[in-house]
Subunit: 419 residues, 2 copies
């Protein structure tokens, strides 16, 4: 089979011979040993945090945040940090077949510009949190700066924007009210950490006298625009509510495991036909952005947690990487599958590797055996960004060099920041 | 730092300048961007089953075995299958930094010869099971053939042999009696699947009127020579008994997850100082032999299961890959660490990769971020088997070609075998 592209779109998926006949003047790439897939979509990233990869591990969430991550962020996070960290993250994601990422970090205008410069597709989160940071001082400041980012990039097909309130416990009802109204008016997604850990369950009862999901439902947040990330603390009534309201769940199994946060009940969510996609979370809590490996972890973990080897089959895991994520973003008409008319976001994996030999079932190999190092080609909007495992545009040496310089400064500052 | 080798052993670990002064005539390999590690030891493999990688997935254990794996094994397993499958497995393992594997499969004389021919270290399991197979007809036949393999390879430093009774439910007390006596007399390990699934718990009570571990203890099997694989069904009293008897536990997290078999309680085993090592299991239930990825899964899963992000820290996971495995094999004086006097089994990983950038802590990166594709050099007994990511002796094209031919035959026979 062949895929024909013109400009940023796929124009035909057709037999090879037909493609040569119909597009005689087109340049082409032959990939006889490969499988061609829709580009992977990483539905939860804090891209710039790649500069903090492995900075602090094997700690509980509160110690990790309070004693390590937040002090170092306070000391170093600014536009240059976000620029260099995002570029490092994008290079790693592209190298592994990811063509689009749904980000949440400060200085989103920097992330947006870096994505466009790299030619990568992104959903740019507009952060909102009850505490001041280097980027904004208070809720109105966050929202106004966010809206400015959003309106500034109108018409850029590589970008969309989403509100990114940090979490139910760190954003108050009034702020949620504004976000909900704006999200409905502009049809923007709301990307939020929800029920990441057990602590949050009690915290909602203490702060609001009701469960997290009851509160979000009362506020009007539970709908198809919500991208609820983590969701490790769900009872049966929660799952029914999520199903009724068409919430999208973004599963980050490796981050949840590493922080000992509990298990997202994937098998039960699948039974209710809830839309599930995947995120790596930031490299500070994963510690890589390997989405194919994340799909493998998801497929294995779902079986372990449900004690059911028949749940989250290989093809369902592949859907979580691609079309389910596009659906979550509200962009299933544009990305998430290889179809004529859609944007040409694709990756190709060389299957002639030891760990993919022999082959009985290509989808099984993709999820259970292959490595993201087998990705050799990546296209975003018809532009080839990775060719024969090399970047066509990004200066990898410079990206790595800058990351190393940051690490020297950050490691030297470890004492000074208290981290 | 530098490591000096002479013949099959490490003779010194010393500063680089001292190495150049003391070993002036020695050839040397410069690896400035690398980390040098003890070779990884895969403590549970069915190597030849690599030919069945991805043959059947997303099934429960009984359907997977009865309807797929056993019929295809019955139709195809013989010396040629074992030879070609073991070579495929060894290539994959060496490529990922594994220098030694603890195998359990039929025709162990073929596995042994293949390992020696490849220059790879192995503990060859001598299978015993209550049912006839292509290799042997009955228990005495298994044991006698096994002892012949064992005595035939006396003096080969690359090899050791271990009894490999299949599982408590498939070997009777009389056979265990013989195995225990022979294991004690010849100081041989006993490599066995134990408490892999919940079904086995009830089966022991039905068959023997006691729990699996009580029965094995009464038989005299619980001691430092036992390599108990899986162990997903352990209560508090079981853990105390295992600690008292110095049993080694071989944890196969990915296989356990994929088959939905339950969780080995790693955090609680660590608290009792029980020796824990890692295995990938066969590629038919994993579906790769990537031991570094297995260590990552183990480190993540232990935290998730215990709801404790501080358990199984990165360095402990690295110990499971190396010195703990050597201890389990009774070979900690010879392998498992880089020390003068030990056998030179080592691997080197290039850390100048996107997913290892930047670096604050090399051990964190090895376990949580790196990919086994970063392995560039591997030595076994002082012989370099992988150099700059290429095999020095194995004919990779031939190995892959043979595996593909098997897959054609096996796929064609799917109907005929009923599988």
């Amino acid at each position: 089979m062949a895929v024909a592209m013109e400009g940023e779109r796929i124009v035909a998926v057709l037999p090879r011979a037909d493609a040569f006949a119909r597009f005689q003047d087109a340049s082409h790439v032959e990939l006889p040993r490969h499988v061609l897939l829709p580009g992977f979509i990483n539905m939860h990233t804090h891209s710039a945090m790649s500069l903090l990869r492995g900075y602090a591990d094997d700690l509980n969430l509160q110690a990790w945040l309070n004693d390590h991550i937040w002090p170092v962020e306070k000391a170093f996070v600014g536009p240059k940090f976000v620029h260099d960290g995002t570029r490092l993250a994008m290079a790693e994601m592209l190298r592994g077949g990811t063509t689009c990422f749904n980000d949440n970090y400060f200085f989103p205008e920097v992330t947006a510009a870096a994505a466009v410069a790299a030619g990568m597709r992104a959903s740019i989160g507009l952060p909102v949190i009850d505490v001041p940071t280097a980027w904004a001082d208070h809720v109105d400041d966050y929202i106004n700066k966010g809206l400015k980012v959003s309106s500034g990039w109108q018409g850029e097909t590589l970008l969309s924007t989403a509100f990114a309130p940090h979490a139910p416990y760190s954003v108050d009802d009034e702020a949620f009210g504004r976000i909900i109204a704006l999200s409905a008016r502009h049809d923007m997604r709301v990307h939020m950490h929800v029920l990441e850990s057990e602590w949050e369950v009690g915290e909602s009862l203490r702060q609001h006298g009701k469960s997290t999901l009851d509160r979000l439902n009362d506020l009007g947040l539970l709908n198809e625009r919500l991208l609820a990330v983590h969701m490790t603390q769900l009872g049966a009534s929660d799952i029914a509510l999520l199903s009724d309201t068409n919430v999208n769940i973004i599963h980050c199994p490796e981050s949840n495991l590493k922080l000992g946060d509990g298990f997202c009940p994937v098998a039960r969510l699948l039974e209710q036909d809830i839309n599930l996609a995947l995120g790596t979370d930031g490299a500070a809590s994963n510690n890589n952005l390997d989405l194919l490996a994340e799909a493998r972890t998801a497929a294995l973990l779902a079986k372990g947690v449900a004690a059911d080897p028949c749940t989250l089959k290989a093809f369902e895991a592949l859907e979580m990487l691609t079309i389910n994520a596009a659906t979550a973003l509200g962009q299933a008409q544009e990305i998430g599958s290889i179809e004529a008319g859609k944007l040409a976001d694709m990756c190709a994996l060389d299957m002639d590797f030891l760990q993919s030999t022999p082959m009985y079932d290509v989808v099984s190999h993709l999820i259970y055996a292959a490595s993201s190092q087998q990705v050799t080609h990546v296209w975003v909007g018809g532009r080839m960004l990775l060719e024969d495992s090399s970047f066509t545009g990004m200066d990898l040496d410079e990206i790595i060099d800058r990351a190393k310089r940051w690490a020297v400064r950050i490691a030297a500052g470890r004492g000074a920041t208290g981290a």
